[in-house]
């Protein structure tokens, strides 16, 4: 669809780890991708396919070797991670990663509320904010709204991941990046967090990239699916075609596109 506005654009991005050594690994190989505004893309691929590298290159955890990355017309290629942060909401795989354990629930939300802003000598959290955070936390339906001043470190992984998700969208980001954010949760909690993800993304029609190991989820959620292999995008399916996808069809498409057997990655992908 040519009339779609592009939110994120990667063109010819290459990232090589340990270049020139025996451990050289081409993690992204001349990769190009245009993400349209409002796209909810699920990203699948085996271990070492480059999914996390893609996320980290976009958010600036490390610089890229070649190519260009733009977001909503802003050139991100050489921007530092902390300056890019205001554009992205991020949720990591490790539920411990997205929140500060030694701080209160409301203090964590206050940090997220100031994402990408300068931090001065004003008081770190105001009374009006506390009310706002309480309302937001109540949405999770976990009963945490009565424990706003509890330390986050005392909560379960699922609770922390739900809070992280809320924090990542507390101030509307240009893009939401989810890096296997339910992989470390038990199936029931994972389902809850996924449902919440779908609700939050749908409400604001947030442009979203969601990396997952679960093929079923990749098919069920989002409007577009990309499959990565060996640092490249080997499959890009959207619209009606995506709705008709099955796990079997996806497995078949993988062997065809990559020209290799699936056996190694099967356990991880199914």
């Amino acid at each position: 669809m040519a009339d779609m506005e592009v939110m994120l654009s990667l063109s010819g991005v290459t990232k090589i780890f340990n270049a020139g050594t025996v451990n050289e690994k081409v993690a992204m190989n001349n990769l190009s991708l245009d993400v349209n505004k409002g796209d909810f893309i699920t990203v699948i691929g085996g271990n070492g396919a480059g999914k996390s590298t893609l996320m980290n290159a976009v958010t600036g955890v490390f610089g890229i070797d070649e190519g260009k990355i733009t977001l909503d017309g802003i050139d991100l290629t050489h921007m530092s991670e902390n300056r890019r942060a205001k554009y992205f909401g991020r949720v990591f795989q490790d539920p411990m990663m997205g929140t500060v354990p030694n701080m209160e629930i409301q203090e964590n939300l206050a940090l997220a509320f100031r994402r990408g802003k300068s931090h001065g000598l004003k008081w770190g959290i105001t009374a009006a904010e506390k009310r706002l955070y309480r309302e937001q936390i109540a949405r999770l339906g976990l009963g945490l709204e009565d424990r706003m001043s509890a330390k986050v470190g005392l909560l379960s992984g699922g609770q922390r991941q739900a809070i992280t998700l809320l924090m990542s969208t507390l101030v509307r980001p240009k893009m939401l990046l989810l890096d296997e954010h339910t992989a470390a949760l038990d199936p029931k909690t994972a389902e809850k967090v996924l449902a919440l993800t779908d609700e939050i993304v749908g409400e604001d029609s947030l442009t979203t990239l969601m990396v997952t190991h679960n093929m079923r989820n990749a098919i069920d959620y989002g409007n577009r699916l990309i499959m990565m292999w060996d640092g490249k995008i080997i499959l890009d399916i959207s619209g009606e075609e995506k709705k008709k996808l099955t796990v079997e069809a996806l497995l078949g498409a993988f062997s065809k596109a990559s020209g290799s057997e699936f056996s190694n990655d099967r356990t991880l992908l199914s």
Binding site: V61, M97, K117
Partner: protein, 317 residues
């Protein structure tokens, strides 16, 4: 005996700022900062030199604080911008400060290689001297009052600072750095600011110690981090249930006071003062290994008892 205890209490307040400084780096930033051994002497040297040169002692203490801030920033820059491991970054600053402190004290006397300064001649011109003249109190009580007022003021300032937006980002950095970067916090900057404040406080403590004992010596900082840790551990054990940040800081001041009283009593009862550092180190070793010892004893007990009830353990995963 009473006099010994009172003296211990007054020393405790004066050394409390060291403990609070170590708390900022060690606990809040999770950064084992050894530069504090140099910055406590730096504070003492700067204050001694400036008072020697005729400066107002309050102003001299402010300069001591600023000197400590610079030392802390250097450690921070070494560790963040130059990616030198934190322990080594601290050691490098500490070693550099050894030479710098001798230069500062030499500047006062005009003799190169001055390793200590006697301030007895200027004892009326220190903060304690001025307070004694104004109130007519004796040395110990003057130290007690100045120390207590300073400690309480510092608790208020730290409580305020670590509640601000900037202070929150420093606390968050020590707890989860990756998350901070994802929130757009420049963790290099927050670490540098945190270390600057920590070492500033420690230098301020050094300046007070020097003015109280009318003496500054290049070796006075040896073991400072262990003394700081001992105070923190004692304070945290007593105020274990404290949730409020100001109360935690207060606990550390109390920890410092208790540590000094114990030291005073032990020395009073005849232990050679040269064994003090060994004793302090053992206190810290035992305190830090207590959680491990507890787990060990606990698991032994469970093996021996027939009950298989799993205790309620707080899970994070």
């Amino acid at each position: 005996m009473i006099a010994t205890i009172t003296a211990g209490v007054s020393q405790g307040f004066i050394w409390a700022m060291l403990a609070l400084g170590v708390y900022i780096s060690f606990r809040l930033l999770d950064f084992a900062d050894l530069s504090c051994e140099g910055s406590i002497t730096l504070g003492a040297s700067i204050a001694a030199m400036l008072i020697w040169k005729g400066m107002n002692p309050f102003l001299a203490s402010l300069f001591a604080f600023l000197g400590g801030c610079i030392a802390g920033s250097v450690t921070g820059i070494l560790a963040t911008k130059l990616k030198i491991p934190p322990i080594l970054a601290g050691i490098l600053t500490m070693i550099s400060l050894y030479s710098i402190n001798i230069h500062i004290m030499s500047f006062a006397t005009g003799t190169a290689g001055t390793a200590n300064l006697q301030l007895l001649k200027y004892s009326k011109k220190t903060i304690f001297g001025i307070i004694r003249r104004l109130t007519g109190l004796d040395k110990t009580y003057a130290a007690l009052i100045v120390g207590a007022v300073a400690a309480i003021a510092v608790i208020f300032i730290l409580y305020w600072f670590f509640g601000t937006e900037l202070g929150c980002t420093i606390r968050a950095t020590g707890s989860n750095e990756k998350m901070c970067r994802a929130q757009g916090i420049n963790t290099d900057t927050t670490k540098i600011i945190g270390l600057a404040i920590s070492n500033g406080m420690i230098a301020l403590s050094g300046s007070m110690i020097c003015q109280n004992q009318n003496f500054s010596d290049v070796n006075m900082g040896v073991g400072a981090i262990v003394i700081g840790l001992a105070s923190i551990i004692i304070g945290e054990t007593i105020f274990m249930r404290a949730k409020n940040f100001a109360l935690k800081l207060f606990g550390i001041v109390i920890g410092s006071v208790i540590y000094r009283v114990v030291v005073a009593v032990v020395i009073y009862s005849g232990m050679p003062s040269t064994d003090l550092k060994l004793m302090t180190a053992i206190i810290v070793m035992v305190a830090l290994s207590l959680p491990m010892i507890k787990t060990y004893l606990f698991s032994k007990k469970r093996k021996h008892s027939k009950k298989m009830n799993t205790p309620e353990v707080q899970k994070n995963g």
